[in-house]
């Protein structure tokens, strides 16, 4: 058993190294570099027009067909299939215009040092076209899609385009941050009260600087209730832990922060979710990235993250059989899907998933309260972390 563990560790270290290298280059790109890249794309299009060619905008194909799992880096990646949008195509023309508008707007943000939410981008660009009754955008989904296209086209994330989605997630622990875009406010996240710090959407180094950390690991928690429980038990202080509450599926900003804590400060990341398909997938997204944002895994994923619980072994170890819940047909279907994912194809996870499918049960984080409220903070987590009882 011990042998196995060390071999797993070895490969993971290798993965981390490879990823760190490629990440480092991406990380350094600031607004200037990104703006320059947009300009480069725009120039290419103008050149097309000037030389009488159908102007085209190239971006990455994003369907399942172009998503793959990079075993070497341990992340979900986008393949290299391109898709081209041309102006002189009835089906593309409108979208081409929209992309140009988004390009021009983000270029403006980057050069004027402004940031905006994706909803603001939508409202800033929405207007009636010329003498028609047609709007540039009818729906925020249209502008959102263009932002995604642009991210992929110039191989960056929207946060680096000075555009962001709605923030979600909280941070608590002995970590000092500097908001460089806002009076250089400097604060320690252990001293913001029980609510902790609301994680912003853009966590780019030129905006949020991680000044100082006094912690041994990052604990990512799925449910807000469990996050609050651990804050109340003063878990962070007692265990030198950074607590990150995701409140369900982790937002981009939250993932970006976890990523940075791990890669910049070498902190191990432990993920604590419900023992069900939803929780498992939250873990999987933090670790390998998601299919929707496959292109950005390098800046968002954390391949060395470990799964701490809940597991079906916990049920047996702590006698939680009477507080398990039945899996619904949808849950079972989803579990079977996870079973087939490339990155769940290792022995411990196959065993865990198969067992869940067989027993048709799921276990929530809160079920630990069955023992006592403090049980999770005083016994469950410390013991698991000490003994390294993780799923890979």
């Amino acid at each position: 058993m011990a042998k196995k563990k060390s071999s797993v560790k070895k490969t993971e270290r290798k993965i981390s190294k490879a990823l760190s290298k490629s990440v480092a280059k991406k990380e350094k790109e600031g607004p200037k570099e990104i703006a320059a890249r947009i300009k480069e794309v725009a120039r290419g299009i103008v050149k097309d027009i000037e030389s009488g060619r159908n102007p085209k905008f190239k971006t990455k194909q994003r369907g399942r067909g172009n998503v793959l799992f990079d075993e070497k880096l341990g992340i979900i990646k986008l393949g290299d299939k391109d898709t081209t949008r041309t102006f002189l195509n009835i089906a593309h023309a409108r979208k081409f215009l929209q992309t140009m508008l988004v390009m021009s707007k983000t270029y403006e943000y980057l050069t004027n040092n402004k940031t905006a939410s994706i909803r603001e981008v939508y409202y800033e660009l929405k207007h009636t076209i010329g003498n028609t009754k047609e709007n540039t955008f009818e729906d925020q989904r249209e502008s959102d899609a263009c932002i995604v296209d642009l991210e992929h086209s110039i191989d960056t994330i929207r946060e680096k385009l000075n555009v962001h989605a709605n923030p979600k997630g909280t941070l608590y622990g002995d970590i000092t941050l500097v908001d460089r875009q806002h009076h250089n406010d400097t604060f320690n996240c252990l001293k913001l009260g029980r609510g902790g710090w609301s994680i912003m959407s853009r966590i780019e180094p030129h905006e949020i600087e991680i000044k100082k950390i006094n912690a041994k690991y990052v604990l990512v928690i799925e449910t807000s209730a469990m996050y609050e429980r651990l804050v109340e038990e003063d878990f962070a202080r007692k265990n030198k832990a950074i607590l990150v509450g995701t409140g369900g599926q982790a937002a981009r900003g939250t993932r970006r922060l976890i990523h940075r804590l791990h890669f910049e400060h070498k902190l191990p990341v432990y993920v604590f979710t419900d023992g069900d398909p939803y929780g498992w997938y939250i873990y999987s997204v933090i670790k390998q990235g998601s299919m929707a944002l496959a292109a950005h895994s390098r800046l968002l994923a954390c391949p060395e993250a470990k799964y701490i619980g809940m597991t079906l072994e916990d049920v047996e170890d702590y006698g939680l059989q009477n507080v398990t819940e039945k899996m619904k047909p949808g849950d079972i279907k989803r579990a079977k899907e996870l079973l087939a994912y490339e990155w769940f194809k290792n022995k411990p996870w196959q065993k865990e998933l198969k067992k869940a499918i067989q027993l048709k049960i799921r276990i929530e984080q809160q079920a630990l309260a069955n023992k006592s409220l403090e049980f999770v903070a005083k016994e469950y987590l410390p013991k698991k972390i000490k003994n390294e009882e993780f799923l890979p």
């Binding site: 947009i38 027009i49 009835i90 081409f96 140009m100 508008l101 021009s104 076209i129």
Partner: protein
């Protein structure tokens, strides 16, 4: 015995009554048959009678017709119709017979393609005027050689003889005929069945005529001539053996100048030669050297039966006088004012074994073609706000009534117009012109407003329509492609300013230059598309159609052969 006596008396009385039974009574009782029912229709029929007389007279005299029609409202349902032409005019001797004697026309017993084969004739109008208003018709006539005169004419209803009054010479040089008549119980409407529409259609089918119309409202409409070609007067035709009845043969035999049945058959029928005579002789039980005056019904029956068994050459179409493709085109262009016209004059065909006929088609699309549903005056009597216009003609005379029963209407509706790019026939700006030409038009009834759907007639109408429809389809699809191209261009164009601005903001390049170049790109691109689209669509239509036509032609060939 008493009964017998009674019946004799009654019979005598009847005979006497019948003798005195006035032409006027006959007229009144048979108005329907004569096309004189309906207040609107009656007025249109009157106009028809006068105009066709004028056109026929001009044609026979080789004159380019100029006809003026004026209708004045004198009171409620009380109108005065004035028609003036530049024809050869009538003489004092002929004027009475032409305008004051019913059924005195020369057309009834000849096999000639004539316009005025239906209706009541100009004398009927005189009768109608006199019956409804008690007034005589006023006539001015001149031959252009100084003998201009004026008179008033009524009909003596008992004797069916003209009564000419107030005859006086006029001291002016005039060539032509002017008739002025008053009618009560009629109504003027500018509907599809009204006089204006009748005149419009007459003008279309007679491009050599100039017709001026003044409505009761005082509006003046001029239909100018688009052709100076005066149609040659049609030739009288001998009957073709395949088209005659026993009664025809008996009647003809009793009136012939021939001394023998054989020469009677040879001279008085078409396509009967010596070979045919020999065959007939073998099929009948009597000697063909017999005096035709003594030909019996039974013998005539034998002759007709023999006719049926022998193959004759199809009748000559010499008697047919089509308008001509080019003249129909010009006429439709001038009067209907469409975007596109296609016309076709088919070769003569034969129906019912013996009657030659010919079909002319004109399809006008777009522009002012079809019936405008916005223009209330023209669409009042249309039931569903119909937009397609079907103009039916028999020997150039418009058929305005009884459309539903007519072979032309049936043929038009039997065609799958969707095949020809007409998605919804009823709501398409189409004017379909059909002229049916024959020395013997197979009318469905005494009203003579609908052509019977004889197999050969239907087949020929359909074929002719399909040929024209195919050409129209090409135009419609090209037009649609053009509209689509324009729409596409506009769609691209509307995005250009914004794209140019966005790109200019990033690259700092001149906005106008980028926009100009983009517009140029769009135009270049669409020109390319134009060629591709057109060729592919045309090929489709062509392929589908030629097959159908070929099939149809085979069918026709089978039947006539």
């Amino acid at each position: 015995m008493a009964e017998e006596l009674k019946s004799v008396i009654t019979g005598e009385r009847l005979a006497k009554e019948f003798k005195e039974h006035s032409v006027a009574e006959f007229f009144k009782k048979n108005r329907q048959m004569l096309g004189l029912y309906g207040k609107v229709r009656t007025l249109t029929t009157v106009v028809h009678e006068y105009i066709t007389n004028s056109l026929d007279a001009c044609e026979e005299a080789g004159i380019l017709p100029e006809i003026e029609v004026k209708i004045d409202e004198l009171g409620p349902e009380y109108y005065q119709v004035t028609v003036k032409d530049n024809g050869p005019g009538l003489t004092k001797e002929t004027v009475g017979k032409a305008l004051g004697k019913l059924l005195a026309g020369t057309k009834f017993h000849r096999l000639v393609q004539m316009r005025g084969q239906q209706g009541i004739g100009a004398s009927g109008c005189t009768m109608l005027s006199q019956m409804t208003t008690g007034k005589a018709i006023k006539v001015i006539s001149g031959t252009g050689k100084g003998n201009t005169f004026a008179c008033e004419i009524t009909i003596d209803p008992k004797r069916n003889e003209p009564k000419i009054e107030n005859m006086r010479d006029l001291d002016r040089n005039f060539r032509g005929l002017m008739i002025q008549a008053r009618f009560k119980g009629v109504l003027y409407r500018e509907s599809v069945m009204g006089p204006l529409e009748y005149i419009r259609r007459t003008a279309i089918a007679n491009p050599h005529a100039k017709i001026t119309f003044r409505s009761p409202k005082g509006e003046k409409v001029v239909f100018n001539r688009t052709s100076t070609y005066i149609p040659k007067p049609p030739k009288a035709m001998k009957p073709h053996p395949a088209g005659v009845t026993v009664d025809d043969v008996v009647t003809m035999a009793h009136h012939t100048k021939a001394k023998k049945v054989s020469s009677f058959l040879k001279n008085d029928f078409e396509r009967i030669g010596d070979t045919a005579l020999e065959k007939i002789q073998k099929l009948v039980s009597f000697d063909l050297n017999k005096d035709p005056k003594k030909l019996t019904w039974v013998e005539a029956e034998q002759i007709v039966n023999a006719f049926r068994k022998i193959k004759f050459l199809a009748p000559s179409a010499d008697g047919l006088r089509p308008i001509g493709e080019e003249r129909i085109r010009k006429s439709l262009e001038s009067i209907v004012q469409p975007e596109y016209v296609v016309t076709l004059t088919r070769a003569p065909k034969v129906y019912a074994g013996g009657y030659p006929f010919q079909v002319e088609i004109g399809i006008a699309y777009g522009g002012k073609a079809g019936i405008s549903t916005n223009n209330n005056s023209r669409s009042q009597e249309e039931e569903f706000g119909v937009r397609v216009e079907i103009m039916r003609f028999a020997n150039r005379a418009p058929l305005l009534f009884d459309a539903g029963n007519c072979a032309i209407t049936k043929a038009v509706h039997s065609i799958d117009w969707k095949r020809y790019g007409v998605r919804d026939l009823e709501n398409t700006p189409l004017t379909i012109f059909v002229n049916f030409i024959s020395v013997h038009v197979p009318y469905t009834g005494a009203g003579k407003q609908a052509i019977a759907d004889e197999d050969e007639v239907m087949e020929e109408l359909r074929l002719a329509l399909m040929v024209c429809a195919r050409k129209t389809a090409r135009y419609i699809s090209a037009k649609r492609a053009e509209i689509e191209r324009r729409m596409k261009r506009d769609m691209f164009y509307k995005y250009i300013p914004e794209i140019a601005e966005a790109l200019s903001k990033i690259t700092k390049k001149d906005k106008e230059k980028i926009a100009k170049k983009l517009e140029w790109l769009v135009l270049t691109k669409l020109k390319l598309e134009k060629r591709e689209e057109k060729s592919s669509k045309e090929l489709k239509v062509e392929g589908k159609d030629s097959k159908k036509v070929a099939k149809g032609e085979e069918k026709i060939a089978e039947k006539s052969g």
